[in-house]
């Protein structure tokens, strides 16, 4: 039984193709059913996210990878000639390495992004629910989950915001601690204002106030976000009660001048004010940032934080790689011991059979011996067999190299004419 990972990802295929290959569109269950119907492999898990569509499978023959690749094309109605150059196949240990890297967030478009581990878990749960998994994929995925968790807790790979909106939210958390009591004022009612409003609302802010030069657009946005709209002329009052101000207007000159914010700070008795200026050209005078208790961040400042976090994540990649390597080695050793297990059992059976037949042959000669002496003979012969088998068994199980282990097993099969061959791996779990 071999392990395969077959599919496309943002590394191998352009977005036009990834859009077409999307198992998640109709849910992965029909895909799992189709795979089962075709008997493409013994065990399958389908992982489908916006940036990848991959099938993890355990199958007997090497031809499975080709079958699975073609299945991806046929299932989505894409000609094989178009898909084939982008399909990547991982075999055996490589497949485990790939999945562990995916689960750790190392293979993501944004390295270290946290969603992927949840998506891997969901893919496995669905496959498991459809009874498509087996001993090999069970172990593979549970190990992948623990790799993901270890990388998250032992390295800084997932630390620091890597998008502008998350950077702004992380900053607000560092200033105010808790969003529940915060009043947010959004100036502008365009697309950026809407997106930021949605982000902030998701954080559970106390109150969302929106103002725009045309009251109607502000009112519409306020309606969709569950906030309140105020007239452009009442912005000064709103400033006095807000904790966070987001400016995203299309104005060509500064909306918030130093004087205006200074006045607001007086009215709010110098409680901290976090001003996020995401407009280009800027809505807030740079001078505003000099006011005590005012934290002013514009789009470039936030982008700089994001860049810094990204480079910090990059430096953590090595440590995450180390964890992945460690777990791959452990998983490979486990696969190895599974592969050679039938040979080990056959070898032991063979030796035991020889011992028994020899004992039987000598039976007439030993008949004269007292019972305890006969028992001793039985014990000694048993010990000899055990000792003879000890080292070969250990060597066989601990060989790091997959090809070498197979060669060993093959040699043993021939040398001792072991007939049992390879068992079905499912039987031993």
């Amino acid at each position: 039984m071999r392990l395969f990972a077959v599919g496309i990802s943002h590394r191998s295929a352009p977005v036009e193709l990834r859009e077409c290959v999307d198992f998640a569109r109709q849910g992965v269950e029909p895909a799992l059913a189709a795979l089962a119907e075709r008997k493409a492999a013994h065990e399958v898990v389908v992982l489908s996210t916006c940036n990848r569509a991959e099938i993890y499978a355990a199958a007997d023959s090497d031809g499975a990878s080709d079958r699975l690749g073609r299945f991806i094309g046929e299932y989505h109605g894409i000609p094989w000639e178009r898909l084939a150059p982008h399909v990547v196949v991982y075999r055996g240990q490589e497949a485990a390495d790939h999945l562990f890297r995916v689960a750790a967030g190392l293979d993501s478009l944004v390295v270290g992004e946290p969603q992927i581990l949840g998506q891997v878990k969901e893919a496995y749960a669905k496959a498991s629910g459809a009874k498509a998994t087996g001993a090999l994929t069970n172990r593979l995925f549970t190990t992948a989950f623990s790799v993901g968790k270890r990388v998250r807790t032992e390295t800084g790979l997932g630390e620091g915001a890597v998008s502008v909106s998350y950077a702004a939210i992380a900053l607000a958390k560092k200033i105010f601690g808790d969003f529940k009591k915060l009043n947010v004022l959004i100036l502008g009612a365009g697309e950026m204002a809407k997106l930021t409003g949605e982000h902030l609302r998701a954080q559970g802010v106390h109150q969302l106030t929106i103002s725009s030069r045309t009251f109607e657009t502000a009112d519409t946005l306020a309606g969709s976000l569950g906030g309140t709209a105020v007239r452009w002329t009442s912005v000064d009052e709103a400033l006095a009660t807000a904790d966070i101000v987001v400016t995203a207007t299309g104005a060509t000159e500064a909306v918030l001048t130093r004087g205006r914010v200074e006045e607001a700070m007086r009215r709010r008795r110098d409680r901290p004010l976090f001003v996020i200026d995401i407009a280009v050209p800027r809505d807030v005078e740079a001078e505003v940032g000099r006011l005590d208790q005012v934290f002013l961040y514009n789009i470039d400042d936030l982008q700089a934080i994001v860049n810094e976090n990204l480079s910090r994540r990059a430096s953590e990649v090595q440590r995450a790689d180390g964890i992945v390597r460690e777990e791959v080695a452990r998983f490979a050793a486990w696969m190895q011991s599974r592969e050679v297990l039938p040979t080990v059992i056959a070898l032991r059976t063979r030796f035991e059979a020889i011992r028994q037949s020899e004992l039987k042959r000598l039976e007439p000669k030993m008949a004269a011996l007292p019972p305890d002496a006969r028992a001793r003979v039985d014990e000694i012969t048993h010990l000899i067999v055990e000792k003879l088998l000890l080292t070969p068994t250990e060597q066989l199980k601990s060989t790091g190299d997959e090809a070498l282990a197979v060669a060993y097993a093959d040699a043993l099969n021939r040398l001792f004419s072991l007939t049992s061959g390879r068992r079905e791996p499912e039987a031993d779990e």
């Binding site: 630390e159 958390k173 560092k174 601690g177 008795r269």
Partner: protein
């Protein structure tokens, strides 16, 4: 210098080192080790103070050295309480450095001083304990204030780094600072009041120290000055909105007055409190 008198210092220094390591490279195991070392230090210190009490037959609060020792002990306890209730270890490095530095004084001079007749009043013990507990509270406010300013500067300068990843939010630091000052102020007021009552009781004594009890004595003057500063800090926070950075600076400056009063004034200048 005995093993018992030296052990708390050694453990405070070890705890400070552990908090420092944990602060520069946060990991849960290092954090637990730091807390355990500090807990051990406070425990050893408790044992030392207990031994001194049993030997002398009275609480070892006579003299500045003993007062510093009791202050370190109270601050250690107060910090551990805050750490265990808030699960926040970032302040530990600042507190334990202060503890280790101050603990050098009692470790160098572990003798329990004889108690003059003048101090045989329960009011004296209550006065000293209230004052020291107030100072411990102010020390926490000081550390919270310093960390607030450090974090504030990083966010303001848009250079997020060391403190940004290690400290709780500005709001949390500010709130804890405010609370520590309230607690400290209550104990300081009570301590001063009891001290005043006690001073008036011993007014008839011929002891020169009793004669020197008065507003002109540096120790008393500094104590009143710190009370004035903290009262202003409370007032400013409530009525004119001096929270955040101003409150942080104020608590730092006020604690400098407290620290000056506790060590140099206590050792060299006072004529009323030189027991």
């Amino acid at each position: 210098m005995t093993f018992t008198s030296l052990l708390p210092l050694v453990l405070y220094v070890a705890a400070a080192a552990a908090y420092f390591v944990h602060f520069s490279r946060p990991d849960p195991r290092g954090g637990r080790l730091a807390t355990a070392l500090l807990g051990g230090a406070v425990l050893a210190h408790t044992f030392l103070i207990g031994m001194q009490t049993v030997e002398a037959g009275y609480a070892p609060l006579v003299g500045t050295t003993a007062a510093v020792s009791a202050f370190v002990w109270l601050l250690g306890l107060a910090y551990l309480y805050v750490e265990l209730t808030t699960d926040e270890r970032a302040m530990g490095v600042f507190v334990t450095v202060l503890l280790a530095a101050l603990m050098i004084l009692p470790a160098l001079n572990p003798e329990t001083e004889a108690r003059p007749a003048l101090l045989r009043s329960p009011l004296f013990t209550v006065h000293v304990l209230a004052m020291l507990f107030a100072y411990a509270s102010f020390a926490l406010a000081f550390v919270l204030g310093i960390t607030y300013v450090l974090l504030f500067k990083e966010i303001k300068a848009k250079h997020l780094g060391f403190f940004y990843t290690r400290l709780p939010s500005l709001q949390t630091l500010d709130k804890m600072n405010g609370r520590a000052i309230i607690v400290g102020w209550v104990f300081l007021s009570a301590g001063l009041l009891i001290g005043g009552v006690w001073a008036s009781q011993i007014g008839g004594s011929t002891d020169p120290r009793a004669q020197a009890m008065g507003i002109a004595d540096p120790k008393i003057l500094f104590a009143l000055l710190s009370w004035g500063t903290y009262t202003f800090a409370l007032f400013a926070r409530r009525t004119i909105g001096w929270s955040g950075r101003r409150a942080a600076w104020l608590s730092a400056i006020a604690f400098v007055i407290v620290l000056l009063n506790l060590v140099p004034v206590g050792y060299f200048l006072t004529r009323s409190h030189n027991f």
